[in-house]
């Protein structure tokens, strides 16, 4: 059950758009990073090129016309910061849901929050994105959405040409790992099967590494990969913030 929710409506609404297909939902996860280590401040609220990290992702999703519902999954202790960010930096309507202890639990809470709209068919696809990847572009989001609608599921990834295979003793085997890609987010799936699979994973106590791994475990839905973007990297080290800032400055502060 969702512990608490808040809904915020600001100037740009989606009402009035005529659509042939139901809108998709974008879910931005901002609840995980600090929770695991008990940190005082979640890195997704750090400033990056004049805005908070999380608002770059929200803005990218808001610029994709087919994204009709935008959800931010956050921690209760970040409420004031979230209110400030949504008021000062985000024009789109954003629904706020409190996440759980793990990434997967947070995803499940977001899906349950959307469940009535999924059941009635007013949300057809869900894209789940890690807020620690602030440089995701609207083009990539639209690409993942298109593939997910077409095939059932889609994840962005980059070919991992720098991997080598090793044996159990740690020695190089010389074999080239075939078809290995580095997964990114947003990961998109048809909404109905996604909700069903997450409920089943919760019943079976299965914990996957990401959204796609949970889908692979419980669903036959084909998952396609689309080419990710080099700039869609995850902020992990302090240096990543410097690189992200330079990428944004070079692009005149647009993703």
């Amino acid at each position: 059950m969702i512990s608490a929710v808040a809904e915020r409506r600001t100037r740009r609404g989606s009402a009035g758009r005529s659509r042939r297909v139901p809108p998709a939902a974008g879910v931005v996860l901002a609840s995980g990073a600090g929770t695991r280590v008990g940190a005082e401040m979640n890195k997704v609220y750090l400033p990056l090129a004049g805005r908070r990290l999380v608002s770059w992702s929200l803005d990218a999703f808001a610029r994709v016309p087919d994204i009709g519902v935008l959800l931010l999954v956050t921690r209760p202790q970040d409420k004031d910061l979230v209110d400030w960010v949504l008021d000062r930096e985000v024009d789109a309507p954003v629904e706020v849901v409190y996440g759980g202890e793990t990434r997967q639990e947070s995803e499940l809470r977001a899906l349950r929050w959307l469940s009535s709209r999924i059941d009635e068919g007013s949300v057809d696809t869900v894209l789940i994105h890690d807020a620690a990847r602030p440089l995701v572009s609207p083009a990539l989001i639209a690409g993942v959405l298109h593939e997910a609608r077409e095939h059932g599921g889609a994840i962005p990834a980059l070919p991992a040409g720098d991997l080598v295979a090793v044996d159990e003793a740690g020695a190089l085997t010389g074999a080239e790992p075939a078809s290995i890609v580095r997964a990114q987010t947003p990961q998109g799936f048809r909404a109905g099967p996604l909700l069903e699979v997450y409920e089943r994973a919760a019943r079976d106590d299965f914990v996957g590494t990401d959204t796609a791994s949970v889908m692979e475990r419980f669903s036959e839905l084909p998952v396609r990969w689309v080419r990710g973007e080099q700039q869609n990297f995850k902020i992990t080290y302090p240096h990543d913030l410097v690189v992200a800032e330079q990428v944004l400055a070079a692009a005149d502060y647009r993703t």
Binding site: A39, E40, N42, K43, Y237
Partner: protein
């Protein structure tokens, strides 16, 4: 009192510690100037003097628009806080300038130390 700019804290991975640690980050305007791991003390200082001046000019040009937007959204709160914010602004700018120039000096010193070892 040393120049600090705007200080934020967050958990990020540290190359030297090999794990996630608490970091302090110092900003001048839109630019990240110094990051410091509070566990091992590893810091990154950037020489952003030229970019800071460009950024400052952009911020000054966009300030009226940003103020108008805040005034539209929160007329009472914005008007009430304006005298205090305006009075503090010169000091904040001075603090930013001191941070940027002091980090640039540290970055240059570090660069020349590294160059000396290489030779």
């Amino acid at each position: 009192m040393g120049a600090k700019g705007t200080i934020e804290h967050a958990t990020l991975a540290c190359h030297r510690c090999g794990r996630e640690t608490r970091h302090e980050l110092a900003y001048a305007g839109r630019l990240l100037v110094v990051t410091t791991c509070l566990t091992c003390g590893t810091s990154i200082e950037r020489d952003v003097r030229r970019r800071y001046l460009q950024d400052l000019r952009q911020r000054m040009l966009s300030k009226p628009g940003r103020m108008a937007r805040r005034l539209r959204r929160h007329p009472v709160g914005f008007t009430g806080s304006l005298p205090r914010t305006a009075a503090r602004k010169p000091w904040r700018l001075l603090d930013e300038v001191r941070l940027v120039w002091s980090a640039a000096a540290d970055a240059r010193r570090r660069h020349s130390d590294d160059g000396g070892r290489d030779r």
